[in-house]
């Protein structure tokens, strides 16, 4: 029987949501022991090591368990998988079973690899590599599976010419479709620009008071956060697709990088409050955004931005190297300072 080799998982077998296999349809033609084993294994969505079954079902002897596991496997209701060095056993759900019981072993192998690729899909080149089947066999099987509406081919936005397949009723992940920013495999730049402009306008309206001759005090804490921008966008119904907070963050980062807005820490938050843990990446901080206003005129700001160090006379002093506190040339008798400070 074809087995699938997988890398070992960090975790051990933990029941995954389904209790007592209650959400799983149990095939009717099983005897009591088989049913018990089937429902026990059903609790573990990713399977569990065969050896773990013995302590989990104390009412059955080890021989009974192994015998019936093999019987179920022959009926294609359980499948084996090597994870690391342990043999795991996993149920084949009834709906899968019905679809795949009529497949030959090559087809089943390919079907399982496609199923395991989930919403990312699998490339035919990888399918060939993992199954060791000739490309002609793979093509024949894929054609048959497509005909039976068990699998479908999808286009990946990153590699549009690769032949990638996934199960028929699986929705492609946003990696494959490009997510909110791609329409028909192409980057929808108009859409992105419209949204970015809308975000900017909203942030602008919250960055300055109505009266344009004043600005908010330093402690102003009602600049909009990403969540508020998201709510605004949703209320305006500009986007026909649902935008996630990550999408909004992408737009805001875009504006920050284009130097249109600045990202500020909410006022009152001190540096100590920031998490030292690299992994949290400031997720717990709710950043706020403010438009960078370049129209503010101030006496100092009329000049082009300058670097303090080059303004100080020492920066351009021809005798800098000779200057010491107690020498003939010193800061005390420096004529450049005299000139600079003589305002």
């Amino acid at each position: 029987m074809a087995t699938i080799k997988r890398e070992p998982d960090a975790g051990t077998s933990i029941p995954n949501g389904r209790s007592g296999g209650s959400n799983v349809t149990v095939p009717t033609e099983l005897n009591d022991i088989e049913r018990l084993i089937y429902t026990t294994v059903a609790e573990y969505q990713d399977g569990l090591p065969v050896t773990d079954l013995v302590p989990k079902i104390p009412s059955l002897s080890q021989e009974d368990i192994l015998e019936n596991v093999n019987a179920l496997s022959k009926k294609s209701l359980l499948e084996f998988q090597m994870i690391g060095i342990a043999t795991y056993v996993r149920i084949i759900e009834l709906k899968d079973y019905q679809k795949t019981s009529s497949l030959d072993s090559d087809s089943k192998l390919i079907y399982n690899w496609i199923r395991d690729s989930g919403s990312e899909g699998i490339w035919t080149k990888d399918l060939k590599k993992h199954t060791n089947l000739h490309i002609n066999v793979v093509n024949r099987v894929l054609k048959a599976l497509e005909h039976k509406q068990l699998v479908k081919s999808v286009k990946h936005v990153k590699w549009p010419t690769r032949r990638i397949y996934m199960l028929y009723d699986v929705t492609p992940s946003s990696e494959v479709t490009g997510g909110a920013w791609y329409t028909d495999q192409e980057l929808d730049t108009d859409f992105i620009e419209t949204l970015a402009v809308t975000c900017y306008k909203y942030i602008y309206s919250r960055s300055f008071p109505r009266d344009k001759s004043i600005i908010y005090r330093a402690g102003y804490d009602h600049y909009p956060s990403a969540a508020e921008v998201k709510r605004f966008i949703q209320e305006k119904r500009i986007s026909s697709v649902e935008l996630t907070i990550q999408d909004i963050n992408c737009l805001l980062d875009l504006l920050v990088h284009d130097d249109m807005i600045e990202k500020l820490m909410p006022f009152g938050m001190s540096m100590e409050e920031m998490d030292d843990d690299e992994d949290s990446k400031g997720d717990s901080i709710e950043w706020v955004y403010k438009v960078i206003d370049r129209t503010i005129i101030s006496p100092v700001a009329t000049k082009t931005p300058i670097d303090a160090l080059s303004e100080v006379p020492c920066g351009t002093c021809p005798v800098f190297k000779f200057c010491t506190e107690d020498g003939p040339i010193s800061p005390f008798n420096c004529q450049y300072y005299q000139k600079w400070l003589d305002f």
Binding site: W123, T124, I135, S153, K158, W159, P160, T161, R162, R163
Partner: protein, 192 residues
């Protein structure tokens, strides 16, 4: 339908087409495919026909539509059946040569028609000699062999320029030298 042709003379060349220099390893292949005019690859053919052909009965006469229908491609205007056929054969050949890829959505502007076969020959020769290999041309007589299979004098040469990330030859670790590496010599048998 395009069909891969087994040509022992080409296989001899292909064996010589892999060598190493101080900076890189070079691997190349020359393959011959025959284009039969029986449209067995019906699905691809129908797809292309509906995409590019000008159907008087059903299309509107809006400016955008007219523009699409007069798309000038390296194969000629796409509202001519002969141009579409060239595109079809090229895409079908690419599909046959790279079975893990599907080139049906490739745009005509990703191909470029080379000015003359002689220039292509010169360019390939230069590339090969610069990479330190003259046996393919001089000892294995690459161009003589090709001339026997397709008449070089009667050929149009097209180059396929894939998008950056999407190159079947551009898998990890490779450096793509020139688009000439990806070319098809196309001899039009049904030239009336």
């Amino acid at each position: 339908m395009v069909k891969f042709l087994e040509e022992p003379t080409l296989e001899v060349i292909n064996q010589a087409f892999s060598w190493e220099t101080a900076e890189c390893t070079i691997a190349g292949r020359v393959e011959a495919y025959s284009c039969k005019s029986a449209g067995a690859d019906k699905k691809l053919f129908k797809q292309l026909e509906s995409k590019y052909s000008f159907d008087i009965a059903s299309s509107s006469f809006s400016p955008e539509d007219r523009h699409i229908n007069n798309v000038v491609s390296p194969f000629g205007p796409l509202d001519k059946a002969a141009s579409r056929k060239t595109l079809f054969y090229l895409l079908a050949t690419l599909n046959a040569a790279f079975p893990d890829y599907d080139f049906s959505e490739v745009r005509p502007d990703q191909f470029s028609k080379q000015i003359s076969t002689q220039m292509v020959i010169n360019s390939v020769n230069t590339t090969l000699f610069n990479l330190g290999n003259d046996v393919i041309v001089n000892r294995y007589r690459l161009w003589d062999v090709l001339d026997m299979i397709v008449e070089l004098g009667d050929c149009d040469v097209y180059s396929f320029i894939p998008d950056m990330d999407d190159d079947p030859m551009g898998e990890e670790g490779s450096i793509i030298d020139s688009p000439e590496e990806d070319e098809s010599e196309y001899e039009d048998d049904d030239n009336e």
